[in-house]
Symmetry: C2
Subunit: 254 residues, 2 copies
């Protein structure tokens, strides 16, 4: 079995945020599986082959890529951001566990990337400077009440919260409900960052308070970061404010 | 005021995981502030100046870098991994908030990087494939009981947990206590990954069960990832197992 599979993170979108390791994996592979907007970012030769699929077909995409690699090919599955964060690496693992034994013999390399919350945080300041969590707001793969419970638990414990997959046409109300939940647990002035397409020409980074947070400002390309009760803004005149969470935490009772 | 400050993430250690954006910022800056092992990674010209400081002097390092930039210089503060995750970006923001008004006028660019947990996760499989959190285990800047409470809350809510700063000479017992806490909340067989120096020549990635997790396996360069109750291993014969957390979550009661 000489097949090889790369699972590659292309970063948030800017070519300047693609690692040399990711670039080398793309140069080495012959077949590329992914959601079309990610495949469109690749600068391929005429010999390299794109196989595009829809963004809700992760498992069948992983299976197709593994089957191709098992035919002694060099294959890349591509993700935006980092492949291990709500992206293709887990889908590939699921497919391997359920698939033919031969898939376990494949040479598999997962290439990490800059995930969206890091790119958004960098544009805003340092909102993830203290303990934080990352939650996918999609209830396609877990019940909504589990998500609400996690939001409440995270806010109560003092975590900053990064929300992936905040909204889509099929999931229009979830982000608003999440904000409602969090308003019960956090101060009204808690900063909320809507980070869209960080590092790309169509980037839009907006900061508002939790009280004013408007789900309409998010789309599928947005990562939403909700501060903890400690998260602060530094006004800078005409420059956008810096949003950051201090490294230190002193409980209110002390 | 023409001073410029870059806060640059150099990634986990391999030059192949340094983004082109980080490389460009390093090429542009003249003065470099950081912990010496990170400064040692830079390939500088004779005109570029390193100012090394100890790893517990983040705030004074940030102040020195800001003061230098305010003298119309181009300055870089460097971090390993991503500067926004338990690293220099928050220290720079703290210094700006408390410092002279002129520091708010500086042109500040934060350059994200691949943070340790992503690099470790990629080497192990996809342990961060479901909701997860990142906790600094250092009790220098927050009380230990807050950390214990967050560990328990995170495990109970079903988050995978990435621990940064798990151990040091001055903090020898905290990781063992953290494992004790988590053993009360998670199955004995929960996978724990000790990821040291991911992507570097001295890389060491070890997976064991929570029951057997040995704090002695961690050092300052280690990121520890503790699975949720859902995290699984895929045996692969002579290859190391893949550790992953499924994207789906079905509560036990359903």
């Amino acid at each position: 079995m000489s097949g090889r599979l790369f699972v590659v993170g292309l970063g948030p979108g800017s070519p300047d945020q693609v690692t040399p390791e990711a670039r080398a994996a793309v140069a080495e592979a012959k077949f590329f599986y992914g959601y079309k907007p990610y495949l469109d970012r690749l600068d391929l030769t005429p010999e390299q082959v794109r196989v595009a699929s829809d963004n809700r077909e992760e498992l069948s995409r992983a299976e197709a890529a593994l089957a191709k690699a098992a035919g002694s090919e060099t294959v890349a599955v591509v993700s935006g951001g980092d492949p291990g964060v709500f992206a293709m690496a887990a889908a590939v693992c699921e497919a391997i566990e359920a698939g033919p034994a031969a898939w376990r013999d494949l040479d598999i390399t997962i290439v990490p990337g800059v995930t969206a919350m890091l790119a958004v945080a960098a544009r805003a300041g340092a909102p993830l400077g203290h303990d934080f969590c990352a939650i996918s707001l999609s209830d396609n793969l877990k019940p909504w009440d589990v998500i609400e419970h996690r939001l409440t638990a995270a806010a109560a414990a003092g975590f900053v919260i990064a929300l992936y997959n905040p909204i889509s046409k099929a999931r229009p109300w979830q982000l608003g409900r999440a904000f409602e939940r969090l308003r019960a647990a956090l101060p009204a002035g808690t900063p909320v960052i809507f980070g869209r397409a960080a590092g790309r020409p169509d980037e839009r980074i907006e900061t508002m308070t939790l009280a004013a947070a408007d789900p309409e400002r998010a789309d599928m390309a947005t990562c939403v970061i909700i501060g903890s009760a400690e998260t602060r803004l530094i006004a800078r005149g005409e420059r956008p404010p810096l949003v950051y969470t201090p490294r230190s935490f002193v409980p209110a009772s002390q």
